[in-house]
């Protein structure tokens, strides 16, 4: 790494008033041709480029981003990382990502502030209890740490939760994954961008893709706002806008794009040292290092690209938060925003080749893509480089919607939908 960050570089730069830090990634103009182009400069796209350069020795690659890197869903999520999914295929995928998270700051020489503070999923009715217990067993068979907590243990683990049996949706227990936690979302995008840029990847911001040039059943390049760029491998990682890009290639995807909202409160002293998710009432809460409560709400039911979301969704979430955490009743919310999430019918992602040669899609992460960022990038890079999926993402192909071999994580996996 050209400019390795360390305590010594920090001291050295402190002595020069921090005025000589070098740019962390380049700002090049696009070349005429690349060996591969990644469309979308979010965490997943930058991670894909990073692993393509690092593990597959593809150096002549570019990442095209229509806005600024990490400005989409990477910068809009609630940063929850966990791998306690029900099905074997999902467990393999998400735990692969979690294992990469555990060493990511060292790998990137960039502090992604990965904090394994645990993620607790609450059960509010008897079916929740059965489903979550089943999931803990499935997790443990797959080597993923998971424990069932009864109501008293939930209260002990997170004392501010209201465990009164008299509330509308009483806490009947919960599951806990201790290896799960949070990370700093911007740092993930920046760390991967810096690492990729260091290996010669061109990160081109403010460059929107306008069309995909095809010659028969293979791709030839991209029409962009910065002109035509030739390539025969295109990896699309455009989250909510995946269908828009697919449409340019004459392809239809099994996706619906919907606004998902989150909000943060004013900063307060440490009050909640873990992540608590409550799927039945759609309320997720953790506390950022700045002290803000980070609250995740649900998606709207309709297709929209507005990055806003409906007020009634936020209202419903805050009602649930207030009942579960009466201590927050006087907290003021500072900011609210929406991100456009691309949801698959089976609530599992697509990391796949398409029937167009050289066109690959990594999409459908829906409401929970952030946690998978390193694994998604690693496996998508493998798929692009070898024109074959890795065994961990083989099940997440586009053809599963034709064969019927779905990875149905809806409701089954503590996923929020």
């Amino acid at each position: 790494m050209k400019n390795k960050y360390s305590v010594f570089s920090l001291i050295k730069n402190a002595l020069s008033q921090h005025e000589n830090w070098q740019q962390a990634w380049g700002n090049p103009e696009p070349k005429k041709e690349y060996d591969a182009i990644i469309v979308g400069g979010g965490g997943h796209g930058l991670a894909t480029a990073y692993y393509l350069a690092k593990k597959h020795n593809l150096k002549n690659i570019a990442v095209l981003e229509k806005g600024w890197i990490g400005g989409g869903n990477t910068g809009r999520n609630t940063t929850i990382i966990r791998s306690n999914y029900l099905w074997d295929a999902s467990a393999g995928l998400y735990d692969h990502a979690l294992k990469l998270w555990e060493n990511l700051s060292q790998e990137l020489n960039y502090n992604v502030m990965f904090s394994q503070r645990g993620v607790m999923n609450l059960a509010h009715n008897l079916q929740d209890v059965r489903d979550l217990k089943r999931r803990t067993h499935a997790n443990r068979l797959n080597g993923i740490d998971a424990v069932w907590l009864n109501t008293e243990e939930v209260k002990k683990f997170c004392p501010i939760i209201n465990t009164s049996p008299d509330i509308r949706y009483p806490v009947l227990g919960g599951t806990l994954q201790r290896r799960a936690g949070t990370a700093r979302h911007d740092a993930v995008a920046w760390g991967y961008a810096r690492g990729a840029s260091d290996m010669g990847v061109d990160i081109i911001q403010n460059c929107e893709v306008k069309g995909i040039k095809r010659n028969g059943d293979k791709v030839e390049g991209l029409e962009t706002t910065k002109g035509f760029i030739k390539t025969n491998k295109i990896g699309v990682v455009a989250a909510g806008h995946s269908s828009v890009i697919a449409n340019m290639a004459g392809l239809k995807l099994p996706l619906e794009s919907k606004p998902l909202q989150a909000l943060v409160s004013e900063p307060v002293k440490p009050i909640i040292d873990t992540v608590v998710m409550s799927n039945a009432v759609h309320a997720y809460v953790s506390q950022s290092d700045k002290g803000e409560l980070v609250i995740g709400a649900g998606t709207d039911s309709y297709v929209s690209y507005t990055q806003r979301g409906s007020h009634n969704i936020v209202e419903g979430t805050l009602k649930a938060i207030l009942e579960l955490y009466p201590i927050f009743s006087r907290m003021k919310m500072l900011r609210q925003w929406g991100g456009i999430v691309d949801i698959c019918p089976d609530a599992s992602p697509i990391i796949s080749k398409t029937n167009i040669k050289g066109l690959y899609f990594n999409c459908g992460w829906g409401t929970g893509g952030f946690k998978a960022t390193p694994g998604s990038g690693d496996l998508f890079a493998h798929t692009i480089a070898n024109d074959e999926p890795h065994k961990l993402n083989a099940a997440f192909n586009l053809n599963r919607f034709v064969s019927g071999d779905l990875v149905d994580e809806h409701g089954a996996a503590a996923v929020a939908h």
């Binding site: 806008h241 269908s243 828009v244 449409n247 239809k252 995807l253 099994p254 996706l255 619906e256 794009s257 039911s301 309709y302 297709v303 929209s304 690209y305 507005t306 806003r308 979301g309 409906s310 007020h311 009634n312 691309d342 019918p345 919607f401 034709v402 064969s403 019927g404």
Partner: protein
């Protein structure tokens, strides 16, 4: 968040309605004849348009009737509302 002009009840808040997704997906007339690809197309593949979309809505907390809406998904503006069975307006493409 927006208002929807239910053709039966008039203008109401969107939260009274439930979205039925893309409109005019025709149910297969002879399901036994369908190939796997055609089933996938019917069941799962969606246009998911950024822009003008034809969609179905149900006034679930009102008259509980289904109807069609033309909406711009890039700004949530509703351009037209028409009843089930009526021809979609032709001035939007």
């Amino acid at each position: 968040m927006f208002l929807i002009n239910c053709p039966f009840c008039g203008e109401r808040d969107q939260s009274e309605f439930s979205s039925g997704g893309e409109a005019h997906i025709v149910r297969p007339k002879q399901p036994t004849e369908l190939s796997d690809d055609e089933w996938a197309e019917y069941l799962f593949m969606r246009k998911n348009i950024k822009g003008i979309q034809f969609e179905r809505w149900n006034h679930v907390h009102g008259c509980r009737k289904w109807f069609n809406v033309v909406r711009d998904t890039s700004n949530d503006k509703i351009l037209s509302v028409y009843k089930m069975g009526e021809k979609p307006p032709v001035n939007y493409k």
